[in-house]
C-alpha cells in the first residue's frame, strides 16, 4: 500500500518534472543579466518613492536607460555611483527631498478641549470627534505616521509631534498618505522656509487654540520677496516654485513662530518619545 502511494506520487512528480524541464527550455526568454545585478545593488525596500512599481522595475528601467540611478531616493550617493559605474551611464543628479510636518502644535502649546478615548490611531480619532485637540487642523499625535514609515524615520516627541529623521527619510510618501489631517508634505531638503501651521482661522482667534498658530498677520509676506509667500484663507502659504528667492529674514518678525527657517530636522529641541520606540 505504502509502495503504491510512493510509486504513484513519485510517478506524477516525475512526469510534471519532465514537463517543467521541457517548458523551461522551450519558453525561455533572454533577459539582460545586468538587471539582476542592479536589482541586487538597489535597497530592495520596494517603497515606490521613485514612482516605479518596485525595485526590480527600477532596475529594468536603469538598464534600459530610461531611469537614472540617482532617482532612487532610498540609496545613497555611493550606491548611485556604483550602479552608474557598472552600467557605464551617468548617475544623474536628484534633489534630495524629505517629508515635512505642517504643524508645530504639540501638547505643550496647543490646547486640548476634551479627553479623547477610543481607538488609539489618528485615523480613528479623525473619523469621530476629531480628537481632543482644540485645533481641528492640527496633528492628532497618535502616531499613524510613525507606524506607517517603512524606514523608521519618524519618531513622536513627548509632546506628540512627529519628528522626521532627515538622514533616514527617503521621501517615499507613506506618511503623506497615512496622515488623516494631510499635514505632511514632501519638500526639497534645501527648501528652508516652512509654515508649520494649517489652521485656517485668521487673526488672534487662532491663538485661542494654539500658541504657535499662524494668525495670518502677513508680516512674513512683507518681509519676503514679492509672490513668495501669500496669505490666503487664514494661513500663510509658501510658493515652492519660487523657493530660490527665500531668505531667513522672512521668518524674523513672525509673532508666533509659525513660519520657520529650517536647517535639518524639525522640532530638534524636543525630546522624542522613548515609549513609542519600544511599541
Amino acid at each position: 500500500m505504502t509502495m503504491h502511494a510512493i510509486l504513484i506520487l513519485g510517478g506524477v512528480g516525475l512526469v510534471f518534472g519532465v514537463f517543467i524541464a521541457i517548458a523551461n527550455k522551450r519558453l525561455w526568454v533572454w533577459e539582460d543579466p545586468r538587471i539582476d545585478i542592479v536589482a541586487q545593488m538597489l535597497p530592495n525596500a520596494n517603497c515606490g518613492a521613485c514612482g516605479h512599481p518596485g525595485c526590480r522595475a527600477f532596475a529594468e528601467g536603469t538598464v534600459e536607460g530610461r531611469i537614472t540611478p540617482s532617482e532612487c531616493t532610498v540609496a545613497n550617493d555611493s550606491v548611485h555611483s556604483a550602479i552608474a559605474d557598472f552600467l557605464g551611464v551617468d548617475a544623474g543628479s536628484a534633489v534630495r527631498r524629505v517629508a515635512r510636518v505642517m504643524c508645530a502644535g504639540g501638547s505643550d502649546v496647543a490646547f486640548a478641549q476634551a479627553e479623547y478615548r477610543g481607538l488609539g490611531t489618528c485615523s480613528g480619532a479623525a473619523a469621530v470627534a476629531g480628537g481632543g485637540k482644540g485645533c481641528a487642523w492640527g496633528c492628532l499625535g497618535l502616531a499613524d505616521c510613525e507606524r506607517s514609515c517603512t524606514f523608521d524615520a519618524i519618531r513622536m516627541t513627548v509632546t506628540g509631534l512627529p519628528v522626521v529623521d532627515v538622514a533616514k527619510c527617503t521621501a517615499c510618501g507613506d506618511c503623506v498618505e497615512a496622515c488623516p489631517k494631510g499635514l505632511f508634505t514632501i519638500l526639497p531638503l534645501d527648501a528652508h522656509l516652512l509654515v508649520q501651521c494649517r489652521n485656517l482661522i485668521g487673526g488672534d482667534d487662532a491663538l485661542d487654540e494654539c500658541r504657535v498658530a499662524c494668525t495670518a498677520c502677513g508680516k512674513c509676506v512683507q518681509d519676503a520677496e514679492p509672490g513668495l509667500i501669500s496669505v490666503e484663507s487664514g494661513v500663510a502659504m509658501v510658493d515652492y516654485e519660487r523657493i530660490a528667492l527665500a531668505e531667513p529674514r522672512a521668518v524674523e518678525r513672525c509673532p508666533t513662530g509659525a513660519i520657520v527657517w529650517l536647517t535639518g530636522a524639525q522640532f530638534a529641541r524636543v525630546p522624542t518619545n522613548v515609549v513609542s520606540e519600544a511599541a
Partner: protein, 442 residues
C-alpha cells in the same frame, strides 16, 4: 395580538427611555447667540446669502440651496449677523457658520408669508415648496427630504413607510411627536402620499411606545389608507433597510436605494416638518430634541431653535451632574461624542445624551477571541470580526470586497464585543481611508 414583525440579528441595549418618554414637549427660549453652519444636511452645503451686519427676521434665509441636492438654511430667531467664520461643527470638524446675535426685544414673529395651498399644487411644486422649507430627514442623517419626494421617473413607488421606530436608547423625540402631534404627522403623510402618488402608507412604531401607537391609530382619518404597524423592540429597527425588511418583508439589495423595491421611507419628524411648511409656511427652523442621560440634571423633550449651542441647551436643562463624562449628539449607539460644547444643534440633531462616568466603557480593548457574537449582531450579515482584523492592518480594499459599503455603522458589533474592540470606529475610519485612497487614484 398580531405576530411581531422585525428583522434578523440586531441587539437589545438598555432603552433608558423612561427618563423622558412621559415628559411633554416644551419650548426652549432663544439663546443670546445662535450659530448656523452652512453644512447641515447630506449633499452640497448652502450658499451664504447674508452679510455681516444684516438684520434678519425669524424664518429668513441665511443660505440658499446650491442645486437640487441641497436645501436652504434659515434663521431661527430675529437678530443681527455678527460673523461668518469657522465654528465647531457637531461632526467634530470645523465648518463655516453664520453667527447671529439674537435681538432680545424682538417679538420673534415670522414675517407674514404665503402658505402654499397644497391641494392645488403639482408634485413638482410640492417638491419645490419642501426644498424651500429647508426640510431634511430629522432622523439623524439629514438627507434632503424633497429629493425623496422626487423619485426617478422609471421607479414604481407603491408604499410610503414612516419611520417611528426610534430604536436608539434614550431618544424620545419621535415618540413625543407622535403622541402630541399625531394629526400633524398624518397631515404630512397625506401631502406626501399625494405628491408621490402612492395609495399605501405604513407607520412602523416599536412596541415599547404603546401610547404613540394608540395616538397615531386614533388620528388616522377614514379616507387615508394608513396602517400603524407595531414592530419588535430591537436595535437597529429604525435603520432604513431594517425597517423596510420588517414592514414589507423585502430586502433592499446591497448598494441600492429603497426606491428600487418601490418604497420611500421618511422619519416621523420630517413628516411633521413638511406638514408645518404647508400649515404655517414656516421653514424648518426648530426641531424636537431629546436632552437626556444620567449625566444631566433635568432631562427634557424640547423644541429647540436650530443653531442653539449645546452649552446653552445643557444650561437650560440645569447643567451637568458631577459625574457627567461624555456629551453625545444623537443616541449613544450611533451618535457623535462632542469635544466642544460650542457646537450648535443642527437640523439632524435628534438628541443630546450626557452619559455618566459609569455608563462609559473603559478604553482598553483585548484581542479578538473569535466568539462570533458580532456576526450574530450584525443586521446586514457582515463579518465584523474579520473586517476589524483587516482594518487594523489597513487592508481596505479587501474590506471593500467584503462589503464594507453595506455597513451603516450601527455599532451593534462593538456593543456586543466582549473584547471591547471599537469595531464601528474602525469601520468608520476605514471608510474614510478608502474614500481618500479612491480620490488619490482618480
Amino acid at each position: 395580538m398580531a405576530i411581531s414583525v422585525g428583522f434578523r440579528h440586531g441587539v437589545h441595549p438598555p432603552e433608558e427611555k423612561e427618563l423622558t418618554n412621559q415628559l411633554p414637549i416644551r419650548r426652549m427660549p432663544f439663546a443670546d447667540e445662535l450659530v448656523f453652519p452652512l453644512r447641515q444636511h447630506a449633499g452640497k452645503p448652502a450658499l451664504l446669502c447674508v452679510k455681516v451686519g444684516d438684520h434678519v427676521e425669524r424664518g429668513d434665509t441665511l443660505g440658499e440651496a446650491d442645486g437640487f441636492m441641497s436645501v436652504p438654511i434659515h434663521a431661527s430667531a430675529a437678530g443681527t449677523v455678527v460673523d461668518f467664520d469657522w465654528w465647531p461643527h457637531p461632526d467634530g470638524s470645523m465648518a463655516m457658520a453664520v453667527r447671529l446675535k439674537v435681538d432680545r426685544y424682538a417679538p420673534q414673529v415670522a414675517r407674514p408669508r404665503l402658505v402654499p395651498r397644497w391641494e392645488g399644487l403639482t408634485p413638482a411644486e410640492v417638491v419645490q415648496a419642501v426644498q424651500r422649507g429647508g426640510v431634511v430627514g430629522l432622523g439623524g442623517a439629514a438627507f434632503p427630504t424633497h429629493v425623496k419626494l422626487a423619485p426617478p421617473k422609471d421607479s414604481a413607488v407603491h408604499t410610503l413607510i414612516i419611520n417611528g421606530a426610534e430604536c436608539e436608547p434614550y431618544l424620545t423625540s419621535d415618540h413625543r411627536t407622535m403622541v402630541e402631534y399625531a394629526p400633524r404627522v398624518l397631515f404630512g403623510i397625506r401631502v406626501m402620499m399625494r405628491s408621490l402618488g402612492v395609495l399605501k402608507c405604513v407607520v412602523g412604531i416599536e412596541r415599547n411606545k404603546p401610547d404613540a401607537i394608540e395616538a397615531m391609530r386614533a388620528a388616522v382619518p377614514a379616507d387615508l389608507a394608513v396602517e400603524i404597524l407595531p414592530l419588535t423592540v430591537k436595535y437597529p429597527q429604525g435603520a432604513e433597510k431594517m425597517l423596510i425588511k420588517a414592514v414589507t418583508g423585502v430586502e433592499v439589495p446591497s448598494g441600492k436605494l429603497p426606491v428600487t423595491v418601490g418604497v420611500v421611507v421618511q422619519n416621523v419628524g420630517s413628516v411633521a416638518a413638511i406638514a408645518e411648511v404647508f400649515e404655517t409656511g414656516l421653514p424648518l427652523i426648530e426641531r424636537i430634541v431629546t436632552v437626556s442621560g444620567h449625566g444631566l440634571r433635568r432631562p427634557a423633550n424640547l423644541i429647540v431653535p436650530v443653531g442653539t449651542k449645546l452649552r446653552d441647551l445643557l444650561a437650560f436643562c440645569d447643567g451637568l451632574t458631577a459625574d457627567a463624562a461624555e456629551v453625545i449628539i444623537g443616541g449613544p449607539m450611533m451618535g457623535q461624542a462632542q469635544a466642544n460644547l460650542d457646537a450648535p444643534v443642527i437640523k439632524g440633531t435628534t438628541g443630546v445624551v450626557v452619559l455618566a462616568k459609569n455608563e462609559t466603557r473603559e478604553q482598553r480593548s483585548w484581542p479578538c477571541i473569535h466568539c462570533g457574537r458580532c456576526l450574530e449582531a450584525c443586521p446586514v450579515f457582515l463579518n465584523p470580526s474579520m473586517l476589524g482584523d483587516l482594518a487594523t492592518v489597513g487592508r481596505y480594499e479587501e474590506m471593500s470586497a467584503n462589503h464594507l459599503a453595506d455597513c451603516m455603522l450601527c455599532g451593534s458589533c462593538a456593543y456586543v464585543c466582549p473584547s471591547n474592540i471599537p469595531l464601528a470606529q474602525l469601520f468608520q475610519a476605514s471608510k474614510t481611508a478608502l474614500r481618500r485612497q479612491l480620490a488619490t487614484v482618480q
